[in-house]
Each structure stands twice: as structure tokens, then as C-alpha cells.
């Protein structure tokens, strides 16, 4: 599979490079970003199961909270934000 062809995505206002075919979680981990969310008790969380089961890698993607980044492909210009569970009160 072709994993060449890089593009930029935005993470908390910073730009990182992602490769076509990578999930958002993979792009973040490839750039050394591992803490992706903080819980209601302000504990850091990151990718754990890597296969869509544990829901730990949830982030805000293009304004939508609770998106499993391990199951979502990175796309050019997508905007990803670290999720703070204590500030998410309802789903938009």
C-alpha cells in the first residue's frame, strides 16, 4: 500500500505532517504526540487498544467531540483538538 504522499493537519493550532492512509491517531503518534485527551478528573489519556474498542483516543475532530482518532483517517487540512472531558457537556 502506498503510504507516501504527505499532507498537513492542524493539532491544537500547530501543524503536523500526516501520510495518506494514516489514521489521525497514527499521525499524532508518528509526531510524538501521545496525550490526546484529559478525563473529567483531569487525567491524561492516549491511544490504548488501537482498534476502536476502548474509546480512549477520543478527540475533537473538525468541531465534533468524541471522535475515535484510531478509527478516523487523517485528511488534508483536518483540525484536531485535544479533548477535555470536563468541558464537554453535550454532543453537538
Amino acid at each position: 500500500m502506498d503510504i507516501g504522499d504527505t499532507f498537513e493537519i492542524e493539532v491544537d493550532g500547530q501543524t503536523i505532517l500526516a501520510r495518506r492512509g494514516q489514521t489521525i491517531a497514527e499521525a499524532l503518534l508518528a509526531n510524538g504526540l501521545r496525550a490526546l485527551r484529559t478525563t473529567r478528573k483531569q487525567a491524561p489519556r492516549g491511544v490504548y487498544c488501537g482498534m476502536g474498542i476502548c474509546y480512549e483516543c477520543r478527540m475533537i475532530v473538525n468541531g465534533i467531540p468524541n471522535v475515535r482518532t484510531c478509527m478516523t483517517l487523517a485528511t488534508p487540512a483536518c483540525k484536531v483538538t485535544t479533548q477535555d472531558d470536563s468541558r464537554i457537556t453535550f454532543e453537538k
Binding site: M1, G46, Y48, I53, C54
Partner: protein
């Protein structure tokens, strides 16, 4: 609503083979997977960094072959990717949620027969610190490495099971530093099973196993047998791990703790079948004490206790892709017989080779599972500060308080503490909550499992409203 003769949920080796087989017999098939690709965890896309071990080559060829076979009958199969099944109504209708960015907007599909082949996930026992970023499941980290991503610098592999060796080999090929491999099983346990294993597994697997061990030895990776991980330290990410020696029942032995400086941990005790959909359908399940997990009850033709609902692959018992392929085939042939696409005599003729192969796979699976299955002493690493339910942040201490307040069973603990109510729907805490309650109350009651609820996976509210 579109109607099909056969709906297959899960597009791994079992689901792909089932779809191909059923389409060949002329059935109208829907194949659903929540990923963006078919192939599941083993046959999913990889990067360009796959090492050339014997197993990897065989996997690669097999993957190409089953996808090619599927493609030949592809016009008879509707494939729904990026799509979750969040409910199954009347044991025939699958309610779908097509995730953002996927093409299909279909909400419901109906099938006369159903094959559930949703695979497996990691078996894990909580320990203090296991929620820190940098702790991965063994399978999850392995998938990342296969795609060419190294999410750390100094790795520790802990737990048990054959996947440890596969991951270690992939890490070595990727140029990573493995600080240690920590295996809960004792050398004696492994040696006791070695003969059984050698005489039952395929030659290529044996060869791969030897290759893995050779690579690990050449890298001088320290291996700790009869050790488990007891704690991980770090403020925002993993910075250090503590391991401890265990006895034959995996009880931690005080005073044998050692610290290892690592930033990434792979942790797991083998795999367990994913049973949420078969449970939601009302199929009968039982807890297999020897294998250490809940299993769906089946007849030898892969049919569950609900007529017309079949199951196949690692969602039943953990045997790997070769067995999954045969089980998928058996389920499809039997479903097609019920659909009158193939008569009984021809079906039996087609079933024979697969049923014969499956007998052997069953034996291998049992040997693997009994080596990796956690022994009771390990529950002693569940100290008060360990988080049991990751989603709702319920600690052992919270469960202790609930039990002190009179909670006596699993669903009672769930109501009082929210344990098991979070996003993952109790898939991880459900693995240990019985043992924890037994330990705290001193009474070994009958084992329970959370009542299956709709939606099986979290979906947006609009989905439930049916809009």
C-alpha cells in the same frame, strides 16, 4: 430498507471468506465492517516496513488471495465500510451507523440469515498507572509497528501469550530498543506445553517462533519469566515501570520489585472474543473456565442457539486466521443450505474438509490460551489506586466502598459506581469485576456479565431518533 439473504458483520478473514463462499453459491450478501478497509486486524493494510518473517510472508499472500477471491464475486456483495452495527432487531435487522465521511447513508438492512464474525480484543488486568499515555495493548502496538509507526523509544512488553514474541520481532525490525520482555508464565509452564505445541502447530508457525526467539536473543533483550508489571509511573506519560516476581499462581512476591526505565509499554494476556453482538441477539453464552472467557454456544456448523444466526472466527475462541477462514466457510455453507442455495448432500460434501481442519485448530487454540490465561494471583496487583473502569474512572477503592455499602453483584456495582457504563461499554472492566467482587466479599458467587444494551457502540442521538 435493503434486504439481503445473508448479512455478515465483521470483514476479517472469517467474514471475507463467508461472503465469498455465499456469493459463489448465488446468495445476495451484505458485508459490514467498521474500519475503512476489509481484512480486520491481521489482514488490514500495512506500511512498507513489514519484516520478512516466514509468518509475515504467509499472511501477506493469504491476505492477497482471500481479497482476490472476494473480488471475483464482488458484484454479488454489498460492502459497507466505515459502518457500525449498533443494534440487531428481531434477530434479523441490523441497524447501521455510517460514520462521517463514508458513502452509505443506509440506516437499516434486513437479512434472512446472519453471520457474526467480529473478532477479538485484548485481555487485560488493570494495574496502577495503566491509563497513562504510552501504555498500549500488545495487539494495538503491533498494528502501529506494522504501519511503520514507533510511538516511543524504550519499549517494555509485559503480560503473556504468543503475540509478545511477534511484537518483539516487529519492534526489532523497526529498529526499536526493547528494554525487557516480562512474561507472567514460568519457564516450566512454557516447557510443559512446548511439546504439545510443537506436535500440533504448522511447520511455518514453528519456524517463525524459532526465528522470533533467535532475533530476541541476538538483540540481547532481557526476558523476565514469572514476572508481571505492578505499576507504571509518570506525570503525563509513561516514565518508568515496576515489575515484580510471581509464584505459580501469579501472586506477586513482595520484595522482588524492580524498576525499569521505559517510555512505552505493551500489555496484554492474549485475546478474548468480542461477544457483544451475539449477546445482544440473545444467543446463549457460557464462561469457559479453562480458556478464561465468555463464549457463544454453537453447534458444529457454527450456528448459535438462535436459529439462522451464525458466528465465526476469533469472536468464538481464539485460534487465529487459518481457523477463522474455515469457520467462515462452514457458516456460509450452512447458511446457504438453509437459504436453499445448496442442497444438504452438496453442503455436507463441501463442509467436510473444513470441519476436518477445524478439529486440529481447536487443539492449538486451547494450548495457546491455557499458557496465556491469567491465574488468580494476578488480581492482587489490583491495589486501591488502580483504575478498574477506564471510561468512568472508577478505582478499586470506589468498588471497595460500594461493596462496603452492600453492593453484592456486578450489575449492582454498575448502578452504584457507573463502572461499565462508559464509552467502551464494560469491555475492559467486565473482564475483572467478578474476581474483584469475590475477593472483596470473600464469597465466590456465580459469574455474571453486564446485561447487553442498545446501542452496542456509542452513536449520535440522531441515529437513535431514526432521522
Amino acid at each position: 430498507m435493503r434486504e439481503f439473504e445473508l448479512i455478515i458483520i465483521g470483514g476479517g478473514p472469517a467474514g471475507i471468506t463467508a461472503a465469498t463462499e455465499a456469493a459463489r453459491m448465488g446468495a445476495c450478501v451484505a458485508l459490514i465492517d467498521e474500519n475503512q478497509h476489509l481484512g480486520g486486524k491481521v489482514f488490514g493494510p500495512t506500511g512498507n516496513t513489514i519484516p520478512d518473517s516466514t509468518s509475515d510472508k504467509i499472511e501477506h499472500n493469504l491476505r492477497r488471495q482471500i481479497l482476490k477471491d472476494l473480488d471475483r464475486v464482488g458484484d454479488k456483495i454489498a460492502v459497507y465500510l466505515n459502518t457500525e452495527v449498533w443494534d440487531i432487531v428481531d434477530q434479523r435487522m441490523a441497524l447501521l451507523y455510517a460514520k462521517e465521511g463514508s458513502a452509505g447513508h443506509l440506516k437499516h438492512i434486513k437479512g434472512k440469515k446472519l453471520i457474526i464474525s467480529v473478532g477479538a480484543f485484548e485481555k487485560a488486568i488493570p494495574f496502577p498507572g495503566w491509563t497513562l499515555p504510552g501504555v498500549f495493548s500488545v495487539g494495538g502496538l503491533n498494528a502501529l509497528i506494522k504501519k511503520g509507526i514507533l510511538p516511543g523509544e524504550r519499549f517494555l512488553i509485559a503480560g503473556s501469550g504468543p503475540l509478545q514474541l511477534v511484537l518483539a520481532d516487529h519492534l526489532i525490525h523497526a529498529g526499536a530498543k526493547i528494554s525487557a520482555i516480562v512474561n507472567a508464565a514460568s519457564l516450566r509452564d512454557i516447557a510443559a506445553r512446548a511439546f504439545q505445541l510443537i506436535t500440533s502447530i504448522d511447520a511455518f508457525r514453528l519456524r517463525s517462533g524459532v526465528e522470533y526467539l533467535w532475533h530476541i536473543k541476538r538483540q540481547k533483550v532481557p526476558i523476565y519469566s514469572s514476572y508481571i508489571i505492578s505499576k507504571v509511573y509518570g506525570s503525563n506519560e509513561v516514565e518508568k515501570a515496576e515489575i515484580v516476581r510471581v509464584d505459580g499462581l501469579w501472586n506477586p512476591i513482595r520484595g522482588t520489585e524492580q524498576e525499569i526505565s521505559v517510555d512505552t509499554l505493551a500489555y496484554g494476556f492474549g485475546l478474548i472474543p468480542c461477544t457483544d453482538l451475539t449477546r445482544l441477539c440473545g444467543c446463549k453464552h457460557f464462561f469457559d473456565e479453562r480458556l478464561g472467557y465468555w463464549r457463544v454456544e454453537l453447534n458444529e456448523k457454527m450456528e448459535t442457539t438462535v436459529p439462522g444466526i451464525f458466528a465465526a472466527g476469533d469472536g468464538l475462541t481464539i485460534k487465529g486466521y487459518s481457523a477463522a477462514i474455515e469457520e467462515g466457510r462452514v457458516a456460509a455453507i450452512e447458511a446457504c443450505n438453509q437459504l436453499e442455495r445448496v442442497d444438504r448432500r452438496e453442503a455436507d460434501r463441501l463442509l467436510r474438509p473444513s470441519l476436518r481442519k477445524l478439529k486440529r485448530f481447536k487443539r492449538i487454540g486451547q494450548i495457546m490460551d491455557t499458557i496465556s490465561s491469567p491465574r488468580p494471583g494476578i488480581f492482587n496487583i489490583l491495589t486501591d489506586d488502580a483504575i478498574v473502569c477506564r471510561c468512568e474512572e472508577v478505582s478499586v477503592q470506589d468498588v471497595v466502598s460500594a461493596v462496603a455499602d452492600g453492593a453484592g453483584d456486578v450489575n449492582d456495582i454498575k448502578r452504584r459506581t457507573r463502572l461499565g457504563m462508559g464509552h467502551c461499554q464494560g469491555r475492559f472492566c467486565g473482564q475483572v469485576i467478578n474476581e474483584l467482587i469475590w475477593k472483596l466479599t470473600g464469597i465466590r458467587k456465580q459469574r455474571e456479565i453486564f446485561t447487553p444494551r442498545t446501542p452496542a457502540k456509542p452513536v449520535p442521538f440522531a441515529c437513535l431518533a431514526g432521522e
